[in-house]
Amino acid sequence: MHPPGPPQAWDDRNRIGLATAFVETTRQVLTAPTAFFRSMPVTGGVGSPLLYAVIAGWIGLAAAAFYQAIWVSIVGPAALPFGLDSGELGFVLKWMESWAGLIAQVVFGGVSVVITVFVGSGILHLMLLLLGGARRGFEATFRVVCFSQATTLLMLIPLFLIPFCGLAVVAWCLALYVIGLAQAHQIGYGKSLAAVLLPLVALCCCCVGLALTFAGAIASLVGQMP
């Protein structure tokens, strides 16, 4: 069992204030992830961690969309791969690069963050179930994914100016998943690493979000499996 530790800053936000709690939680996740995820409660509802994920993810998305719009206005729109420059998808992709697209991304960014964290949690929890590492319920996995959204705040840095920086952010996020799942489910790092890497290695990006939305959803129904 998790020993009842001191309340985390995010859970204490009514007392210390939302902004302070957000900054302190982000600092803890990014600088001391092991201690943070070890003391993180694994029950209590999905609303609170989801709120953190939406705020962090939305800020990161808005910043990325803003930089992208500036980039496009300077160098022009990116050439779409062969065959994607026509039809409805081509129209949407081109429109997404415009200023109107930027506004839409900012407005609907919160929705996409919600979708991302649910689908991501479902995929990871499915892998944990298959590997026998889901010692806690779906909510434990969900909380890890939500608080790992702290890395999206690094999008505030104009990453396109720094080579491979975007890749480093993704790697940092995956590392947080590994640490978080190991601590939240009280399993070894090998198992949590396998749960994180398996979908990346065995499944492609285009289908994985879709197929495993269903599979991950069903995994969260089971919750935990001895």
Binding site: V119, L210, V222
Partner: protein, 146 residues
């Protein structure tokens, strides 16, 4: 002197459907799946002229989830047989998810949601069965050239 027969210890069933106080995850995931289905149907994401699957690009073989976007496109067009042909497991998953969402919707007025409890002996068997089903589905995708 007659003695009462000793009561048999009650053993929990290996698999149990329960209602719990958690969030209606089935409804949430089904809503996400519905949104994706609309995007696939409207933007014709199942008819892209290029392969986005890096496994297929690198090896020429489909990955275990290949065909699921096309399956969803078929489901959007109400072509169930076509969906099963594209990716049987993803289609089956979509139907299970739909049933779960209906159950969550029915439990929603009581602020409850559907869950499944799995007993220890069944856990390992289910895990092994899931791996076998995944591999069988993958073998079908390879054979069918998805």
């Amino acid at each position: 002197m007659s003695s009462a027969p000793a009561a048999k210890p009650r053993t929990a069933p290996p698999l149990r459907l329960v209602s719990h106080a958690g969030p209606p995850l089935g409804l949430i995931f089904a809503s996400i799946g519905g949104l994706v289905a609309i995007a696939v149907g409207v933007l014709h994401l199942d008819r892209l002229p290029i392969a986005l699957c890096y496994v297929k690009v690198l090896t020429g073989l489909p990955c275990p989830s290949c065909g699921s976007t096309r399956a969803l496109g078929r489901l959007f067009a109400l072509d169930v047989a076509g969906a099963f042909a594209m990716n049987p497991l993803a289609t089956f998953g979509a139907f299970v998810l739909a049933a779960w969402a209906v159950a969550d919707l029915a439990l929603l007025p009581w602020r409850r949601a559907l869950g499944v409890e799995v007993g220890p002996p069944l856990g390992s068997a289910l895990r092994a069965a899931a791996v076998v089903v995944l591999l069988a589905n993958w073998a079908y995708l390879v054979a069918a050239g998805r």
